[in-house]
Subunit: 335 residues, 4 copies
């Protein structure tokens, strides 16, 4: 029998999680929730996803002609696990609801590690969430840093790492937030991204700074790593070539910016034009002395999606071997 | 037997044409051409599209490890018709090559009407290209204006029309062109878009102005139409609701800008996140006295693609009834 | 004795009004107000402008080390007239305060005409505000339309006019608002800008539509005018060449977009790089038959500033002849 | 007698150099050169700057009604020194022309250090250009790094430094270049900016990476420095507070991004809204252990201008003491 998954919140992450889960053969979406009768709710309907809404919103959905399957609490009854994709500040309350309903819950990286006490990355700590009632898939940026740094640390020991996160300021579907023409630093430094990586890799020495820039497509990181053992540029590239969910590209082939990465994702026929992999420039990677320099791009809308699928498998005790789960997820999603 | 289509130029339009043709049951792509061994060439390979290259480029493709099927002239031998998606200024020379090879050719709206003497829009003049050796599918903006204005003219007579074209300045995959923070008028007025509409609807009185703005997603038009017969806002909306390849959306449902239109296209599972339809805001349409005001958005990367498919059917005498061809195209493409 | 002017609100318009007034020899700034101890408050201090703050804010200014001259009500006692540059929705309450203090008040175009019953444009209706206690300088876009259309109507009679307003989405100093990459139509059509022009020129037949685009520099209008009497392109250009506060530029000289207009303003040594004039492209102006087509650019931060100065002269009965006032204002401001 | 300065190239840097030099009492602009009769040439004329043009361009200027003073070679005869603000790739040829004319020449940071063998920064190595025939003022980014790092190194010894340069992709007056919505890494790493800092401070251990982002206003750097001696955050801030041409700002006062920095420059009444200082966020500066983290913003259009003035004084043996020259320059420019 398939594991039954409810998705609380049908926005950027929620809708992608729904698509990814229904691509797997061992889990299925039993419902998604939406608070307002928007075009996204209509699209969910069109895709055949049962729509659950807050009690007080039922009328507005009916008025808009959108079919609903029940209230959010009705959805809990159908689900083994809920993927919480709600916006910030309400997670604590929802966690209690999931607990009361006797179901499991996965939270997003926008929440603090302390909410669940366990954070998840498939490569680095799949087993820590085994059988857990609650876990948290770390944020897009943290996932990005772990995907590339975990194998480097495993094979070449990281003495210290530093990353500057050049962050997209709004998602492509957001026409409200700016800036239109400015760059904004995150003044509280070092930023929280370093400690967030440490929620998965507590032993790593990493610091981060961050700025917001006027783009919607992807985050981009500049990363420097002081290596503990000797390595060449070729060693690092070879390592990442065999690392799941890391994709090497080259400026020489015309991929000069985040724009061409997104074009590649569209050309590959990915759902919603998503790039689930962390993208590293092969010709933007270099070891000089004991220091590794590289650029990587993170598709904030989608890189955590395969991690969520794996997290479900770990929490619901569906597959013990992380590599088997990851391979299964990736194959189903066309990665 | 399927009609065999070669695609000369595998960029924004070429790659989409390839995808659309291979979705049809009465035509197939026999090859695409590419001049440089870019990531797009690799993607074409991955999709199983035979790649033809200029004589002098074969080496660079081999060096890049990209499999090629032959030279561009080799492709002509396999094709009944070529969809020319080459950049500007070389069409004249290619037309001669197609003629010499004894095959048909479809050109894009970037070329002048005089190149072929026939221009194409499926709703408005499908039959004019019947059996023709050469035709030209009008540009994205012109296609957009014809899609909405042709039915309005048919049912309510257009006395005069005026449109301001607010144009995206670069496609999403283009990281070179700006402006980053400016608006640029097209100073030669009235702009060429009016006469281009007249290449399909020679009787219509239409003038246009245009500006370029710093966005990559879609063009947006403000249109005013002086109607010849009485009509209400509801009449116009009802007409467009049944017009093929015109899609009505509403600001009330959350579609406030081109950003949410593109999000909707992604949510609908469209290949490359394309919106083939001309999108009109229902709550941004209004008849006041004898004047119709409306906004429409044009996805410059994809709105002409279904027209190209229909144009092939007309030129190759595959289906006489425009409505049957359009329905067949749209069904196959998920429109 | 100079007329004493208080400025309520020291943001985009307030700070420019202060600069412009202190450039005149018949009026002076007696104070500006600010609610928060920002860098702009510091700059006001540095410029020697007495700073008045709300009662409850005095402490926060002291804590930030910013010298204040008193409360907002203290400022009223020093002023003959207040230029209200407060944000939306509080004008009604302030109007009462100015009335209670027995002083005059000028409001901005963000407020409704009904607030004051009189709206102001120096060229078109200077005398209507003569001696008035309250008046309203129309918005940047409305001012822009009146500057060019009023003389055209006077000399060539406007039968009807239509404008599409391509609006900047945020001011240069605003890093919060977007969109970053989208175009957003103003769905309620025709937009309010037409009626706003009619608050000054009630006899004119004008309709407008509007979109927001991702730029900070200037608004840009496409305008079409059906002329009542015969005119050539040259007639119109010659008329605008002698119209105050209208500036003709040319694409041929390198001014291709709003970016180069702003550069020109900087090169001319204008305070804050402001372009007080409405800028019309000479090679983007054309009469075809009875219709005039043109593009104009509006610097939203500054085009109303000289109007505010003239409005003070009219309301305070300082100069009867509008042309004399305008010339005086413009000479002092370097226009 | 004033030193006579010719300016070869009247673009972004050339026009600012002209303004700055004419603000000094010991040097004057004897001419500027321009190759095309653009609006910038008109503005130069309006400012009373003698305009020199290539032989073959004289006609086009006359046709455009722009007064010229002679050919470029005529300007050499009037000048003691030329500030070369020509675009890339022609410096070598011009250097020969200046040598042949027996005059001195200053080049910009776009040229290689090897062109002149001497590079210039007023604080760090004023005396190296003393009496030199040719020198080179390092680029805006390099100047920015030296302004903040030189004093830190002097007082607290820099063991190693690393900077990520988040670069504006086009200047405000440029409406041609993009990207509109992408981030582009500089793939050749470490980038050339480190060695360029070393052209002034050869002993320093510094590495850099860089990305281009869609903004026109300023570059922004994230910088980390491993300190050789103990220092607190307060020590560093206090040091920069007394460092010339470094300006501390605070997010708390509303300066959250490059947008508000540019607004501040406009509010301060700076010519063209320029910010000559390197701007460092006081609340974005922090020492953790032996590492200093900070953000700084660089106004690419103007930060080198005061350096150029000082470089003239050093090369022409006008003032021996760098601090006296800098103070004189800054006072005249209102810094």
């Amino acid at each position: 029998m398939k594991v039954r998954v409810g998705i609380n919140g049908y926005g950027t992450i929620g809708k992608r999680t729904a698509t990814a889960i229904n691509m797997q053969d061992d889990m299925e979406v039993v419902g998604v929730t939406k608070t307002k009768p928007t075009y996204e709710a209509v699209a969910a309907n069109d895709l055949g996803l049962p729509l659950y809404v807050p009690d007080e919103s039922a009328d507005s959905f009916k008025k808009a002609g959108i079919k609903i399957a029940g209230t959010i609490k009705d959805m809990y009854k159908k689900a083994d696990i809920v993927v919480d994709c709600t916006p910030g500040s309400v997670a604590e309350a929802y966690k209690k609801e999931y607990a009361d309903a006797g179901i499991k819950g996965i939270f997003q990286g926008g929440e603090d590690h302390s909410l669940t006490g366990i954070s998840f990355n498939a490569s680095a700590n799949y087993k820590e969430s085994w059988g857990a009632q609650f876990s948290r898939v770390v944020s897009c940026n943290t996932t990005g840093l772990i995907r590339t740094l975990y194998p480097v640390d495993k094979y070449f020991k990281i003495q210290s790492a530093f990353a500057t996160l050049i962050r997209r300021s709004a998602d492509p579907s957001d026409s409200k937030n700016g800036p239109i023409n400015a760059v904004e630093p995150v003044l509280k430094i070092p930023t929280h991204h370093g400690p967030d990586v440490q929620s998965i890799m507590p032993w790593i020495n990493i610091q981060t700074m961050a700025v917001k820039v006027p783009t919607t497509l992807m985050h981009l990181h500049t990363v420097t790593v002081k290596l503990g053992t000797e390595a060449t540029t070729e060693d690092i590239v070879a390592l990442w070539k065999k690392t799941p969910r890391v994709k090497l590209v080259s400026g020489k082939s015309g991929i000069k910016s985040s724009a061409q990465i997104m074009e590649l994702a569209r050309d590959l026929g990915r759902p919603r034009g998503d790039m689930y992999e962390i993208v590293v420039w092969e010709d933007g990677t270099k070891v000089v002395g004991d220091t590794l320099y590289f650029y990587q791009a993170v598709h904030q809308e989608s890189d955590v999606i395969p991690e969520i699928v794996d997290c479900i498998r770990s929490m619901c005790r569906m597959e013990e071997d992380p590599l088997v789960s990851m391979e299964k997820t990736d194959k189903a999603m066309g990665i």
